[in-house]
């Protein structure tokens, strides 16, 4: 006897979308942590000014603020173009309610 087929479209779509979301998380991790470790973990030498961008330490700007902005843009694009509008089905109480309404509707 063959194993049951796992061909539910919501399962297949969400699995694909989940992998893309994990990829986004991983790319953010690869940007934020190594950049901050390379440039954020060293104190300026005595007498030396810390470099600023828009008033914040440059490592915060390039290591956190900028990727935050880009991650937000990518998240929004994924919501608009990648995540599919799947039919999630009806719950038992919705089926019951639809059954009660149908004779009169």
């Amino acid at each position: 006897m063959s194993p049951p087929r796992c061909d539910d479209p919501v399962f297949l779509n969400t699995r694909r979308e989940a992998l893309l979301i994990l990829l986004l998380w991983f790319l953010c991790l690869c940007w934020v942590v190594p950049y901050s470790v390379m440039y954020g973990y060293e104190r300026p030498a005595p007498g030396e000014e810390i470099p600023l961008v828009w008033g914040m330490p440059s490592w915060v700007f390039y290591g956190v603020a900028l990727p935050w902005l880009l991650a937000s843009v990518v998240s929004i694009l994924m919501c608009l173009f990648v995540i599919k509008d799947d039919d999630l089905g009806l719950s038992p109480e919705e089926i019951e309610a639809a059954g009660n309404e149908s004779p009169n509707s």
Binding site: C6, L24, C28, L29, M56, V60, W68, S91
Partner: protein, 648 residues
């Protein structure tokens, strides 16, 4: 400088609080009306699965933003500086991770199973009553901790809000007199903390806050919680967006604030021996002292102190300000208490960053207790995992994922929460980096920095009435978290313990009555637990959040996405995560320099990563060693066009 919330003698704060509470109750009443004619369990615990975009987005965001967001997080920024931007950085992907990774699938499977709680879903997916019960036990265990802590947090914020209201002061005075007259009574003994007298103001606020939350949650159920979350979510973002420009303008621009921070060094704990002008005199908390030597040293009292009636000498616990730029500013702008410093006894220096400028603008950030600083490299990686992924499998979020109307609602809600978190978390880092410059000397009471900053900013701007609204933001955050947790616990007990295991044929009337009473009793127990609550709010919040993630994340992910997953593997994963995570805390208790609240960091990693690793290994190993589930269950959840089952 003192930080009274609103004009002394004004009832404005009380009026703000009462109006706010009235609005919450009105929403609960409307929600209760919405119950009519619908399936009680589905409506009361899940809002009939038809939440729209704004309701879903804001209830998700407001539940996520707990009291910690507006008390613990600002305190950490104030104490450690810009490194908190890295600590919170993974919030950049939290909305899409926590909602997008499992949202559609949880919603679909809950519809197919007719599930209205997380244990309900797990139980049906594996056809295992034991697995459902295990999930219930773990939810009740972790959430009970958190409920008491959040009750405390709400009461502390309410106390700050009402501190200068005459009616509240009169009631507190009356209760204090009652306490003094009945010091030997059982009640007063129960309320008395281990150190110090009963704080009657706190107890009064606890009753006010607790009764209000329990009442509207019980009466209105999930829909009331969601609607109040929407209102609270709006209050929170409004609070941050008002504070941001005020903070930046009053500090003279972000660049100036960062340059000031770059010169600062962590304060040093000390004990002063002071000579007062009179016998038996007293020294208030939060007074400034200056030594006679040149250049003078400056101290800030962290506790009240009273001299003996026969002496004018008194010992006061203080913090010494050590940053040269702060010393100059404080000398110019603050009044000093009239006392002569006889002796200074310094406590141990901060373990990381003492007398070295630059730590407030770089990682790992200064630390009083850790030699490797606030955020060493390994912990930075752990937090990137923790915020973004640990929220994914947590029951209080999953239950919301069961409640949205359709896929389009989910997509738009992720978009909304992405904007929402961007408007809250990074601006909070900016605001409270400015707070360190505007309000020096609050390291000992950093948890109160948010309300104090609200008062300072609005008073300086000439709009002190706004402080009431700004302080409502953290209050709203706590309320929206407590009500959600309360309902998760009561739904687990009613649905998963009573209805699934004790009386499956219980009538709707019985279930309804049971649901109301369970919510009241669970809330009441949490309220009693908060009478003498544990300290270290943020540590317990982190323990609960990371513990739930360690137990639930891996089993939930395999439940949704791995047809081969089975009951034994998921139970092993849940227990493996629980014990691996707990073992780090117990190891901390047994290791010098650590404690239960400060767990051991194996390989320099946070306990949540150890817990997740334990859970993953246990899930995979046990699943592959045991038999797969029957085909009909796999077909039901992974096959096309499977109908929903009839709910009980």
């Amino acid at each position: 400088m003192t930080y009274s919330l609103l004009a002394v003698g004004s009832n404005a704060a009380l009026v703000t609080f009462l109006l706010y509470t009235l609005a919450v109750f009105a929403l609960a009443w409307l929600a209760n009306k919405a119950l009519a004619g619908k399936s009680f369990m589905s409506e009361y615990f899940l809002g009939s699965r038809n939440l729209g975009v704004w309701a879903f987005a804001l209830t998700f965001a407001a539940t996520s933003a707990s009291g910690g967001t507006f008390t613990g997080f600002p305190a950490k920024i104030y104490t450690h500086g810009w490194v908190l931007a890295l600590w919170i950085a993974s919030y950049m992907v939290v909305p899409i991770c926590t909602m997008g990774l499992i949202g559609k699938r949880v919603n679909q499977m809950a519809r197919r199973a007719g599930a209205i709680t997380v244990p309900d879903l797990l139980r049906d997916r594996f056809g295992s009553r034991a697995f459902g019960l295990l999930a219930t036990v773990l939810i009740v265990y972790f959430m009970a901790f958190n409920l008491s802590v959040q009750f405390k947090s709400g009461s502390v914020i309410l106390q700050t809000l009402l501190r200068d209201v005459p009616v509240f002061q009169d009631m507190t005075a009356a209760l204090t007199a009652f306490g003094n007259n009945h010091a030997d009574s059982w009640l007063v003994k129960q309320l008395t903390p281990q150190h110090g007298p009963v704080d009657w103001g706190y107890q009064l606020c606890l009753i006010l806050f607790g009764v209000a939350v329990i009442a509207y949650t019980t009466y209105g159920g999930f829909r009331a919680v969601v609607w109040t979350d929407v209102m609270q979510g709006i209050v929170m973002v409004a609070g941050v967006l008002i504070m941001l420009p005020l903070a930046l303008s009053q500090v003279g621009g972000l660049g100036k604030a960062t340059r000031e921070l770059a010169q600062m060094t962590p304060p040093q704990n000390a004990t002063l021996q002071l000579q007062l002008s009179e016998m038996g005199g007293s020294v208030p908390k939060e007074a400034w002292f200056q030594s006679a030597d040149e250049p003078s040293r400056i101290f800030w009292s962290t506790h009240d102190a009273i001299a003996d009636t026969s002496s004018n000498l008194v010992e006061v616990r203080c913090m010494e300000v050590t940053s040269p730029n702060e010393l100059v500013r404080i000398r110019e702008s603050h009044e000093f208490f009239p006392a002569t410093i006889q002796n200074v006894e310094l406590a141990a220096a901060p373990k990381f960053g003492a007398n070295e400028p630059g730590h407030y603008v770089t990682a790992p950030g200064p630390s009083q207790s850790s030699e490797s600083g606030f955020l060493p490299f390994g912990i930075a990686i752990s937090f990137f995992f923790m915020w973004a992924l640990s929220g994914t499998g947590q029951p209080q979020y999953m239950v919301r994922l069961m409640a949205f109307k359709n896929s389009q609602t989910l997509r738009r809600a992720i978009l909304t929460v992405t904007f929402y978190f961007g408007l809250i978390y990074f601006p909070l880092v900016i605001i409270f980096c400015c707070a360190r410059v505007l309000m020096p000397g609050l390291d000992h009471e950093a948890d109160s920095v948010m309300p104090r900053m609200a008062v300072l900013l609005t008073t300086n701007a000439g709009h002190s009435w706004l402080a009431g609204l700004l302080v409502a933001a953290p209050f709203a955050a706590v309320m929206s978290t407590v009500d959600s947790f309360l309902l998760v616990v009561s739904s687990s007990l009613v649905r998963d313990v009573w209805q699934r295991n004790i009386d499956p044929d219980a009538s709707e009337k019985t279930v309804k009555r049971l649901s109301y009473w369970t919510t009241v009793v669970v809330g009441g127990i949490a309220l009693i637990g908060a009478v003498n609550p544990p300290q270290f709010l943020q540590d317990i919040i982190v323990y609960v959040g990371s513990g739930l993630a360690a137990c639930f994340l891996i089993p939930v992910v395999v439940t949704l996405y791995w047809p081969r997953a089975n009951t034994a593997g998921c139970i092993a994963g849940m227990l493996g995560g629980f014990f691996a995570h707990l073992s780090m805390h117990i190891w901390g208790m047994l290791t010098p320099g650590y404690s239960f609240a400060k767990p051991y960091e194996l390989f320099g990693l946070s306990p949540v990563l150890i817990g997740l690793t334990g859970s993953l290994v246990a899930t995979l190993a046990v699943t592959l060693m045991t038999r797969p589930l029957p085909d009909d269950i796999i077909r039901k959840y992974f096959g096309k066009d499977e109908p929903a089952t009839q709910t009980t």
